[in-house]
């Protein structure tokens, strides 16, 4: 399988602090990669560099055959717009826009707004009925799903998820992981930063950073939906608030897909 991302000897130094040191990484197309490590290990710095939000002090980053080091500020912005979907721990939805409008914002900066396509993206994460709600009217899980719909709306080559379940309860964590599983099955490349081993366990590959260095890089047998989990789908659905009917149906649909 061809590499969507190639990181060659990348280092990043802030002042005298070496945030990343000689990182070598090859991410094949369609791989689900988990990046783990303690605080200050360089996870976020690596995500910023992959997400074209920062540039390395030395080394090369090649995305889909394009050397990011050769690009201008505006070129990096274009790559961010065209090729990367960002999922944040804190969701970062625009507070005065509805769920639908938050998804359309990504379309607006990418190319053309399309309300129907944005609605479909929300339907894909089980939130079609909540499209007209403002972020404050949505639960944390729903906000994260809007964030995912926004990340996917422009069909990015790489999905960068920064602690995607960090602010969610167990039920919503499972929902989000199901969505990521579905995306992975559909062929999306996912790079996910997490400090939680049980979340990282869903990935095919896990790398661990320590003090800016790659401490380990191993293949993982991903946790896919277990038969017991499938059995308990109904009981999990009951855990959801009765008002969150859409989530229930979505959960059932997602479970079936996974």
């Amino acid at each position: 399988m061809s590499a969507i991302l190639e990181i060659q000897n990348v280092s990043k130094i802030y002042g005298g602090v070496k945030a990343l040191q000689n990182i070598q990484l090859l991410v094949p197309q369609g791989q689900w990669l988990a990046v783990m490590g303690p605080s200050g290990s360089g996870k976020t710095t690596l995500m910023n560099i992959i997400g074209c939000l920062d540039t390395p002090t030395s080394g090369r980053v090649i995305m889909d055959g394009l050397d990011l080091g050769s690009l201008s500020h505006s070129g990096l912005t274009a790559i961010r717009r065209e090729s990367i979907g960002l999922i944040f721990q804190e969701f970062h939805l625009i507070s005065y826009l509805t769920a639908l409008e938050n998804v359309m914002v990504a379309q607006y900066y990418h190319s053309l707004v399309d309300e129907n396509e944005a609605l479909e993206a929300l339907a894909g994460v089980g939130l079609k009925e909540r499209a007209k709600h403002l972020p404050r009217q949505l639960s944390g899980g729903e906000q994260q799903r809007v964030c995912i719909a926004r990340a996917l709306i422009n069909h990015p080559k790489v999905i960068l998820a920064d602690e995607p379940t960090g602010n969610l309860d167990e039920t919503n964590e499972r929902l989000v992981m199901f969505i990521l599983h579905r995306l992975h099955k559909q062929g999306s490349t996912i790079i996910m930063v997490t400090h939680a081993p049980d979340v990282a366990a869903h990935a095919e590959r896990i790398i661990v950073l320590e003090h800016g260095r790659l401490a380990s890089d191993r293949e993982n047998n991903p946790v896919v939906s277990q038969p017991s989990e499938q059995k308990s789908a109904d009981s999990r659905a009951e855990e959801l608030n009765q008002n969150q009917k859409s989530e229930e149906s979505f959960l059932a649909g997602t479970m079936a897909a996974v």
Partner: protein, 378 residues
Amino acid sequence: MITNRSFRLRLTFWSLSRRRSRLLVALTGVTAGATVLLGLLTLCYDLPRQLGREFRAYGANLVLVASGTGRLTVSDIQKAQALWPENKTVGVTPFRYESVRNRLRPYTAVGTDFEQVRKTSPFWHLTGKWPEEPGELLVGADIAENTDLKPDSFVTLDGRNKKQERYEKDFRIVGTLATGGPEDGFLFMTLSDLEQMTGETGEADLAEVSLTMDEAALSALTGIIKSSISGLEGRLVTKVTYSETAVLSKLTYLVYLVTLVVLALTMICVTTTMMTVVLERRKEIGLKKALGAESSRVGREFLAEGLLIGVLGGLLGSLGGLLFSRIITISVFGRALMPQFYLIPVTVLVMVLVTIVACRAPVKKAVAVDPALVLRGE
């Protein structure tokens, strides 16, 4: 169907309408600025007219006299009146002076139009009543004090006209006049009584004219009078026109100064508010840039919000300004002003410019926001 253009407009609208508290703060600042701006501009425009009327209480500002040694004719005065707009006329009072005697004692008798006198010389202080019927006379305060010509007494005046023909007429004194000036030493009667007494009609020595015009306009008018009517000359009452011009120019300067201060304060208010908005929305700006928005695009979005606030505040403030200036003129001058509607687009334009200048620093700050902060969770 929503297009990118309409979505951009909606983004600006939603950003303001769904964050009402911030919008209200900025809008209040701009509206207050526009209100004061339009109010003061209107006052600047109307101040000469309003104060001009107030100054007219100090007497006429133009005197019509014969350019030679002769007298004016009443028809010359009427011709001159056609040379200035009627709505600028407060009053035109003819005066004719004659030497008369009473029991061999000499006096100066003045024939005039008392209805016009009340307009051109409102400072005349009268005890008794104005002469209304034929044969009624006013005496100056000095004469009343030093002679036996008192109110309600009868007096016979006599003299000789240009043809040296003797005349004589009886009058009843109906009031005493005090001005603190030379008028206190004169006898006043209607012009028609004086004409009837002397047998000479259609003449006057001078006419006092009170016009709501500034010094420059009056100077121009004197030139027009001289070139239009031969034998007639207009002279400025400089002690009035000079004081009027000096006071008006100082007041106008003061109003412009206050206007500038208000504009500066408005700019500070908008800058502070927009700066706060940028700080509050750093994550949103970072997010937009992380989603691929160019810095210039983010800057334009903030500028669009600023412009909308400028236009809205300008329009609301213009209405407030009209009301504000009306209240001021009614309470200070006792008269409503003439609303100058062309000042509304001027005010909106000024407020938009003020907002653009005020938004420069916040927009610069907005485009400098690092998109990586959204990943850092700052």
